[in-house]
Structures are given as C-alpha cells and as structure tokens.
C-alpha cells in the first residue's frame, strides 16, 4: 500500500494511492453530492453530479470513479465552477423527470428530491423534456414506471452484476435509452426472479413493489373477514429504520403491538413456521442422507434449501437440472398460510373462506410466491396478501402510530411461539445453522452444546464448512451462498460435479436470493447497503442468543403441539399434502 500526499480544498492529507477521489474527500470532512453512486456497486459515472475540479485537468472529474493516482494532486470540491456545473446537470436531469412528487411512492425518501434540496434548486432553466411512458404492471411483485427513470443504471447493475439474472438491460440509445426488457416484454413475462433488488437500489420511483396496502386496509375494515398476519424474521430488525431507529434494533414486541393496533384479528409470527420448516426440511435432509448411504445414489445430494422464492424461480429458469435436489418444503410463509386455513381454522372453528391471510415480508418475490397457482393446498389461497417491510411502515405511519414508543407484546397462540433457530432464518446462513442445530440432535441423539455455529455465519458471498456429527460416518459438508450471483457460482460447481462424478462434495446447501439473506430482501427499507444488512443480521443473532428461551426448532412447544394435534409426524402424509410442493422448468430465452 503506497501512501501519497494530496490536497483537498487546500487541506493536505495522506491517502492510499488508487482510492477514489470520493473516498479521499470524505476523509477531510467535505461531502460530495452523488446520485447514481451506490456504495455496493461499481461506480458507473452515469449521472455527472459528483464532479470536482482537479488542478491541471481541462474538464471536471467525477469523484466516484477517478482514482487518486499521483502525489501532489490538488482537488477542489466546491468552487463556483463545480457548483454551477452540478446544478446545471441536475436541472437537466430534473427536466427529464415529472414533477408529480406529491403522489409518488418515493415522496419523502427520494434520492433525487433530496439532491435537489441539497443543491438548492429553486428554479429550472430548462423546460420539461420527458416523454410519457406506460407503466409495466405485469409482475406480481414489482411495478416499473419508466417515466420516472433517471437512467442511473443501478437496477441493471444489480440485476446483472450482483444477481446474474440479466432480466433488465439498457435498451435503445441516446435520449431514448430505457432500463427495460427485450421486445417491450413485461417483467411478469420475463426471467425476472422478482427478487426486487432493483427496487431497493432505485433512487427514485421507477421500480417499486406492487403494493397490496389498499387490499389489506379493505380486509381490516371488513367486519365479515377474519384477518390474520404473520411476519418474517427479518422484519423485526428492519422496520425500526422506517422510524429512525438504528438498523438491527430488535423490535419483535413493538412489531406485534403495532399489528394489533392496525386491527389484525390474530397476530402470529412466521418464525413459528420457520421452526416448522426446520422440522420438515431437517427430516428430509436426514432421510435423503440415510437413503444415499443405503442405495449409494448420491444424485439427490446436496439438499438445497427452498425458502427463498427469488431463488426458486431462478433455479427453475437457470438450474432446472437441480430441481430434484431442492427441498420439497414450501417456504415458511406458505407453510404458515396452508396451516392458517386448516389447522388454525379447525382449531378455532372459523370458516377458512372468511380468513384473510396477510404476511409481512422483507421480500418482493414473496408476492409472486403467494400467487403461484399450486399454493392453495388447503383449498384456499395459502396467503392472500403480502406486504413488504416498506408497505408495513407506511401503514403504521398512516395509522398515526409512534412505533418507537410502543410497548412490547407477544404473538398469539397457537402459531406465535418461536425459537432462536426460527429467528436467524432472516440472515444468510441462518437456515443452515437452524437445520444443523436440529439435525445434529436428531441424528446423534446427543445434545448440541455449542449452539452458535459461527462457521456458517458472516457476509462472505460463499461459505463452506464440514460439520462432524456423531453416528454419521462422514462430516456433513455444507455450503451457504447469498445473492444469486454467488448462488450461480456454487451451483455451477455442484452441477458440474454431479454431471462428472455422479455426486457432489456437498450434502446440504443454503441459497438465499438476496445479498445478506432476507435481511437484505428487496422489500426492506431503503438504504439497505451491505453494511446495514449485516447490522440487521447481527440483531437477529442477538435475539437468538440473548432474548429467547429456546434456540432449537424441535424445542418449540407450539410446533410439538401442531404435530401432536394435527400433522402427525414430520414428512408425514398430511405434511406432504399441505407443507410440500413441486417445481417446474421455466424457459430461459
């Protein structure tokens, strides 16, 4: 590492050679406004807002993508020339953007709006130049409103570079450029996995979740409906951000209280069905491993997790060869939904037709999953409406609830209890760890003492570990990948191994479509950088280790009761009917 001396606004500092001007400038206490820049993505230089003056250069330079490459560089971040250029560039961008901020879904958290405020835009020298374009509402999960698009390119970058999906791309050129799909195809008809990472990084209202708020309000206001709700693990460590709380603050109790105040008849918890998933998936894993040991056919190993619907659609499109490896378990959301209209309805004597099942998810793909035609094994749609964390936040605000000052309350029985294993589902590696905690004890019959399996935790894109389990003739070889780009890497390896040797080195693989796992889901609060995602994950591990009585799914009393009263045994007949599903190949081109 070579250190060089440079001057920023006449302040001399020493910085590492090769870092970007933007990072060097931040060290001096000055701020450079940015628009297209996103800290987890490669700078694209698209917007032209972060320009600064570099002494000796004929034109201004972009701070985001100009490296500090020589000693004695002199940089000026706020000269008249710089400020006027930035304003003019922003005025051009604003001239190509409608002014319907007051009705826009991003009103109040729009990065373009914030920048206009920051740069003190009070007039625009340019008349509006934008062209009306049709909204794309073909997807269950996402709405694309191209007229709002400022062509920063973040959505395309995340779809291609991070997620390896390549559903969207820059189409056309010049002023007609759109971030779009081929042949004016709708997102709903495309290879889009609905992961929603595009909506998470969009600085404006050009791609956003397809909202179900009004449908849920209607159900809540309908006295004939019995409206129940479940909340995914990742919600409790993120919803606070919508109200100024730090990422990773555990707000499970406040979250339950808020939902009761919204008027839900029962407030359950998806963490309950996460524990249930472990019982089903863990049993499936054990059975498959045992079967392999007997018949020597290793082709159905590794078992690959199935909780992430973005991943499932990706798999059906890009890795249909692995369909038989993916666990047949429905996701916790769908397991919950199927039980709500059967087990719960029977138990409480409620007509399942009257039940409106709502879920609060960190995920836009869950909206698609809930609408998969096969997801109605109870005879009714398992889950009626899916709300993202962002929609949930908006509903709390609309109800005038001051979230941070709420008191805590528990979720309702008989589908509200959860263990630490259920809660860590929301972080990458969490499903793996939860499954290992239970699998270890079920296979060995011994108590797992060191419950924190830190070898599968972390933010590394792909993590591998070998877990020795008593009574198993070999250590369990596991892998964890988050973000579809990382999933692609590990699954290409698995596919090649199976193709070549008839078996893979892995026994169990956890895949989460979104970077960071569900805490980094496409429906989470804006500003979800990798750093924020990691902090949310830490919140979940904190709840697991410090705040809950049980930390292993098979110790969940309500889950035990469910098997005793209704399901029988894990992977039993009733489970297979209600809690398991099938996948099908999808066309890639």
């Amino acid at each position: 590492m070579t250190m060089i001396k440079i001057k920023i606004n006449n302040i001399e500092i020493e910085v590492e050679k090769g870092i970007m001007l933007l990072d060097a400038i931040k060290k001096t206490g000055y701020d450079v406004p940015t628009l297209c820049y996103y800290e987890d993505l490669e700078p694209s230089g698209a917007c032209g807002i972060c320009v600064v003056e570099v002494k000796g250069e004929p034109t201004l330079k972009r701070a985001c993508c100009t490296p500090v490459d020589r000693d004695g560089l002199e940089i000026f971040t706020n000269t008249k020339r710089v400020r006027e250029t930035r304003k003019r560039v922003l005025e051009l961008i604003l001239s190509d953007h409608p002014d319907d901020c007051l009705q826009c879904i991003r009103n109040g958290n729009c990065e373009l709006q914030a920048l206009a405020e920051k740069l003190g835009i009070r007039e625009n020298h340019y008349e509006k130049i934008y062209v009306e374009k049709e909204k794309d509402v073909s997807s269950f999960s996402l709405v694309r409103d191209p007229v709002k698009c400022i062509k920063c390119g973040r959505c395309v970058q995340v779809c291609q570079e991070v997620q390896s999906v390549f559903a969207i791309e820059m189409i056309n050129r010049g002023f007609d450029t759109v971030m779009g799909l081929p042949f004016e195809m709708g997102m709903g008809d495309s290879i889009c996995t609905n992961c929603g990472q595009c909506s998470l990084v969009c600085p404006v209202g050009a791609i956003y979740e397809k909202s179900s708020e009004s449908e849920v309000w209607e159900a809540l206001n309908d006295p004939d409906k019995y409206v129940i709700v479940q909340e995914a693990p990742a919600i409790r460590v993120a919803i606070g951000e919508e109200f100024g709380m730090e990422p990773g603050t555990v707000t499970s109790g406040k979250m339950h209280t808020a939902l009761k105040k919204l008027g839900f008849d029962k407030v359950f918890d998806t963490n309950f069905s996460a524990d249930l998933t472990i019982m089903e998936e863990g049993t499936e894993l054990i059975n498959r491993v045992k079967k392999t040991l007997v018949d020597g056919n290793f082709r159905r190993l590794p078992v690959i997790t199935s909780c992430s619907p973005g991943w499932i659609k990706y798999m059906e499109t890009f890795f249909p060869n692995l369909i038989k490896n993916v666990s047949s378990c429905k996701s916790p959301q769908q397991m919950f939904g199927a039980l709500a209209k059967t087990y719960f309805a029977e138990k409480e004597g409620i007509d399942p037709a009257k039940i409106v099942s709502v879920s609060i998810m960190p995920c836009t793909a869950k909206k698609f999953e809930a609408n998969r035609p096969e997801m109605k094994d109870s005879g009714y749609k398992d889950v009626d409406y899916v709300l993202t964390t962002r929609e949930f936040g908006r509903m709390i605000k609309e109800m005038g609830i001051d979230f941070p000052s709420l008191t805590s309350s528990d979720a309702d029985a008989p589908m509200g209890e959860y263990t630490g294993a259920g809660t860590i589902f929301g972080a990458t590696g969490g499903v793996m760890e939860a499954a290992l905690r239970t699998g270890y004890e079920l296979i060995s019959g011994e108590t797992l003492k060191a419950v924190d399996l830190k070898m599968v935790r972390g933010m590394e894109g792909i993590r591998e570990a070998e877990i020795p389990i008593p009574k198993l003739p070999f250590p369990l070889k596991v892998a964890v990948a988050h973000g579809l780009g990382n999933a692609k890497k590990i699954l290409t390896k698995v596919s090649e191994q199976i193709e070549k040797n008839g078996k893979s080195e892995y026994h169990f693989v956890e895949i989460m479509a979104c970077p960071g796992g569900c805490v980094g889901g496409g429906g989470q609060p804006y500003g979800s950088t990798l750093k924020v995602k990691e902090e949310r994950g830490e919140g979940l591990y904190k709840e697991d280790s410090e705040m809950l009585e049980h930390r292993k799914s098979h110790e969940n009393e309500e889950v035990k009761q469910l098997y005793k009263e209704f399901l029988g045994e894990p992977n039993g007949e009733k489970s297979h009917h209600l809690l398991h599903t099938k996948y099908g190949k999808r066309e890639k081109f």
């Binding site: 032209g48 034109t59 972009r62 993508c65 791309e169 081109f589």
Partner: protein, 568 residues
C-alpha cells in the same frame, strides 16, 4: 439459413455483431426476427435482454421486417448543405412513404442515416450495400429504375478524388489509384512490406518504437496524441497485447480512411504489423464501421493475401515474430469511434464508453493491454520505418511533422482528398486545391474537423495548420475534414443539423450528454444562445466521453464568428 450462419462462428460474444449482420443480410426482409434472435441467444448463451440491448443500440439492425431494397440516405452536415432534404422529399413522394416506412409492395424501405463517408459525392445514399452519390432528382429516377431491374451499380469514387494530385505530397496516399488494391504484388513493388522486413531483420522492437517516437508522429484521428508515446506506455507491459486499428470513420465530412482501406489495404496492414512488432503484440484488430461494406471485403481479402505470403501468421519472414489480424465490424454508431466504446462494441456489446482510467493501453480488449490507433496514423508508420524519422520530420512544421490528409467537402468547387505537409493554410486548401467555392458563390466560412469541429471565418484562412498553431488559437482541425460553406448556408440550420447528429448518436449512458444534446436542439429554435452555450459548457465539464464534450466547439465558434446571424 441460420444454422449455416451459426456454424461459421465460434460461440464467442465478440462474434455477436458479425452474426447479426449475416442473419440480417441473409433475410429477404433485411431484419432480425424474434426467432432468429432467440437462436443467437442460445448459441452464445447470453440473455435475451443483453442481445436486445445490443440490437437496439446500433442503427443498422432492425427488428421490424424491411423492404427488398433498403435505402439509407445520409442526413449529416455535408449532404445536408448539399440538398439532402430535397432528395429525401423526392424519394418520399416517389415511394409514397415516410422515413422509417416500407412500401406496401414490400420493395422499398426508406431510412435516414448519419454520415456514410461519401461526403465527396454529397448528397449520397446506399441501397442495400451499394453506394450512390451526387444525387439529383433526375438521378434518383434512373437509379430506382436500374435497381428495380436488378442492375446494381456501385459507384466508386477513388483516384480521381485526389485534388491536384501533382501538387500534393503523397506519402500515405502514394499508391491510391496507382495500384490494384487487391493485388499484393503491386503493393510490394511499391516498397510494400519493405519496412516490415527491415524492422524484423535489422531492428529490435525498441528501435522501431524509438524511430516512431523520434518522428514526432501524432494521432491522425483527431486527438493528436503522440503515437510513439502512446506505444511506450504499453510496450513494457508483460503478457499478451493487442493493436486495434480504428477504422470507424464516422465524423461527418471525413472520408480519408476509407480510400486508404479500399485503395491500399496493405499499407494499413503493414502499419498494424509494425505497431504490433514495436509493442510486442501478438494480435491486431481492425474495427471497420458496418457501412463500409466495400472496405471490409477488400481488407479481408488483403489479409488473406498477406497470410499466403507469410507476412502474417506464425514466424513472419522466418523470425520469431508471429501475428494475426482479425476484422471486426460495426453496425451504425458514431460514438464507437471513441476508443473505449469501440472496444466494448468489438466485444459484442453496446457502444457505451468506459470510465478512464484505466486506459486501453493498460486494460483494453478483454482487459488485455491494447494500443488503439487511427488508420491514417498506422499508414504513416511503414514509410517512417523504411525511410527514417529524419525523412518524416523533413515534412511539416517543427512540432507537427509529416503530412496530413485533408478532406475537402461541402460547397467547394472540387471535393476530395489533399495530402500535404503541415503548415499549409486553409486558403491554400480551399482556394488552390479545391478551386474555391462552387458556382462562384461567396465564401462564408468553413466547418473544420467534423461535427465535433469548429467554425472558421474568412479572417482565419491564412492561419497555418499545425497542432501548435491551432491549439494556441483555440482551434482544432480534428480528423482533417474541411467543410466549405458558401453565402447560402444558414448557420442556425447547420447547427440544428449538427445537434440532431449528436442527439442521434449519444450513447445515452451519462445524463449531461443524453439530455443535454436534445435540450440544446430544442433551445436552438428559441434563440436562447446564452443558455445554449452554458448547457454545452456543462456538457463539456461533466460528460463521460468526447461526444458530450464536443457540442461546445461548433456552438462557441459559431457564436464567435457568426454572432449577428445567430442573435437576431
């Protein structure tokens, strides 16, 4: 049909544009059908969105069925001031269709395109791959009849277009019109490949590079960067290296590389070889714009001839030096003349420019160090090596050595090429070589250096053209295009045409250029020149590549020299 086409290619992304051309050319309706696109997607294993992103970027590709004859009529500056509008109107009336439409009988499609490099015969057009120039309403009638009767006629415009040949200093263009370009022996009789032989047998790569450095040769594509210096950044790098010959001549009013490619392809090939030898490259690429169909064919044949003679391939002339040259084709985009955009395009992608640094010299094609030089620059190298740097420095001025090809077009009496040493004046070029203004009209000024060029008024006619003098006066001669304007040319109309050009050709990736060009185009009608200038200045400061940085040049010089006409 498509199976046969795909079989010809390796399944590599960099073949994408060539594959698409082949499919489109083979289709009777000259377009890319969805089914065919999907086949290519599968063949190359890339996503449908990516391939569509590429197709929608380049103007030569169409996803809509087109007629049997696709008319591409040039609308750029030179053709524009020579009455392209009237020709377009004539064709529209004749066929009963608008631009972008196809006649009901499926025979004709009419498209407007930017500069075809046929400015010496403006107004001009292409019908499928054949070129037609000096169009008049009467000529249109006869061309259409000929074409319809199956009698294609490709109009050549070489040789005779060297203005006052005997007065020129022909170093680069020496063989144009003299030799048969498709006969390598004729080139070799004129000292062709002698420089290569000398370099390989008598010189080290270092001494070749040193000679080019000492010659003072500067890039002839427009930027004027010292060629030897550029090479010296890449030469010391270890591992694989490439030369990329930029033959994407798209600057309106520029048609100097095309005659070289078509008239003396071996000189260009020899230049690419010498550059490769000097920097230790193993491969050269020539990126030729897709509209230059004739040049593409000639260069490909010439490469095959050189291979046969052992001048390309393994162990050239019995030495350790092995080298191959690959031809890559564009598909209708001006911005891919910019080196990083060209590399993207060559890799089979949209022609979006890359962020610099890293420069191509360290990370170029497929991230491999690549030296990018213009055709004319490389064609200068054989003589420099054969005759020496001192010989080369004997031409031109102190800091602008050698000769330069100037391209005279517009309202000049005679249009064509002039190769002369630096230090010449515009007056000599326009009034001596080109015979002054056509039809005895009054000289109004000149647009020098393409769309990204500057307006020059009469009082600058005696300025000596050299890098040092022009830079010190805030002028630029760019690629050497000189578009002569007579008293009838309306500067506002011409600026509008230039801004339409930039608007059509902006890649769209950075906001200052994407929105700025269109905004200026709109503002011209309002006459808000102060705002227009400020906008162009903002674009210069904040655009990612040279395209967005260019409009300030014609705008500020038009305001300087023709202010009364603009500000009414």
């Amino acid at each position: 049909m498509i199976t046969e086409i795909l079989e010809k290619y390796e399944a590599k992304r960099e073949n994408l544009i060539s594959i698409l051309h082949d499919i489109q050319n083979a289709d009777p309706q000259h377009y890319l059908s969805q089914d065919n696109i999907k086949r290519v997607t599968k063949f190359l294993n890339i996503s449908l969105s990516e391939i569509f992103g590429v197709i929608s970027f380049y103007t030569m590709f169409s996803t809509e069925p087109r007629g049997k004859y696709v008319i591409k009529i040039c609308r750029s500056t030179v053709c524009h001031i020579n009455g392209a509008c009237n020709i377009i109107k004539k064709i529209k009336e004749k066929l009963g269709i608008n631009v972008g439409e196809t006649t009901k009988d499926g025979l004709w499609t009419l498209e407007e395109v930017e500069c075809l490099g046929l400015c010496g015969m403006a107004p001009s057009m292409m019908i499928n791959n054949n070129v037609y120039g000096n169009l008049t309403n009467e000529k249109i009638d006869s061309i259409f009849k000929e074409v319809k009767n199956g009698r294609y006629k490709n109009e050549s415009y070489l040789g005779d277009k060297l203005l006052k040949r005997e007065k020129q200093t022909l170093n680069v263009l020496e063989n144009i019109g003299v030799i048969d370009p498709l006969n390598i022996d004729e080139n070799m009789e004129k000292n062709g490949y002698k420089a290569l032989e000398k370099a390989i047998k008598e010189m080290t790569p270092e001494t070749v590079l040193e000679e080019v450095k000492r010659s003072g040769l500067k890039g002839r594509g427009g930027a004027g960067f010292p060629t030897g210096l550029k090479w010296s950044f890449t030469a010391p790098l270890k591992g694989e290296k490439y030369i990329l010959c930029n033959a994407d001549e798209g600057e309106p009013g520029t048609f100097k590389d095309r005659p070289l490619l078509e008239g003396d392809p071996h000189k260009v090939i020899e230049g690419i070889l010498l550059a490769g030898y000097a920097i230790g490259a193993s491969k050269g690429y020539i990126y030729i714009r897709g509209e230059y169909e004739n040049a593409i064919g000639i260069i490909k044949k010439a490469i095959a001839q050189a291979q046969k003679k052992g001048l390309l391939g393994k162990n050239i002339l019995g030495s350790d030096f092995s080298y191959e040259i690959d031809v890559k084709i564009g598909a209708g985009s001006y911005v891919v003349g910019e080196e990083t955009a060209q590399i993207e395009s060559l890799e089979g992608k949209r022609g979006n420019s890359r962020i610099k640094p890293p420069f191509p010299g360290t990370k170029g094609i497929h991230q491999i160090p690549t030296v990018v030089n213009n055709v004319e620059t490389l064609a200068n190298v054989p003589n420099i090596i054969l005759k020496g740097a001192d010989w080369f420095k004997g031409f031109g001025t102190e800091r602008s050595s050698g000769t330069k090809i100037f391209v005279i077009s517009g309202k000049a009496k005679n249009t064509g090429l002039v190769e002369v040493p630096f230090g010449i004046t515009l007056r000599e070029l326009i009034f001596d070589f080109a015979g002054g203004v056509r039809n005895d009209k009054k000289f109004k000024g000149a647009l020098v250096g393409g769309a990204a060029g500057v307006f020059i008024s009469e009082d600058l006619l005696d300025e000596k053209i050299s890098y040092e003098n022009f830079i010190s006066k805030g002028l630029s001669f760019g690629s050497g295009a000189v578009k002569v304007l007579d008293e009838d040319v309306d500067i506002v109309d011409l600026l509008t045409n230039i801004m339409e050009f930039f608007t059509n050709e902006s890649c769209g990736q950075c906001s200052p250029c994407r929105i700025g060009n269109k905004t200026i185009l709109r503002l011209i009608k309002t006459g808000k020149w102060e705002l227009i200038k400020q906008t162009a200045e903002t674009m210069k400061e904040a655009s990612l590549c040279a395209l967005g940085q260019s409009p300030i040049l014609p705008i500020s010089t038009a305001l300087k020299y023709f202010k009364e006409e603009l500000v009414k």
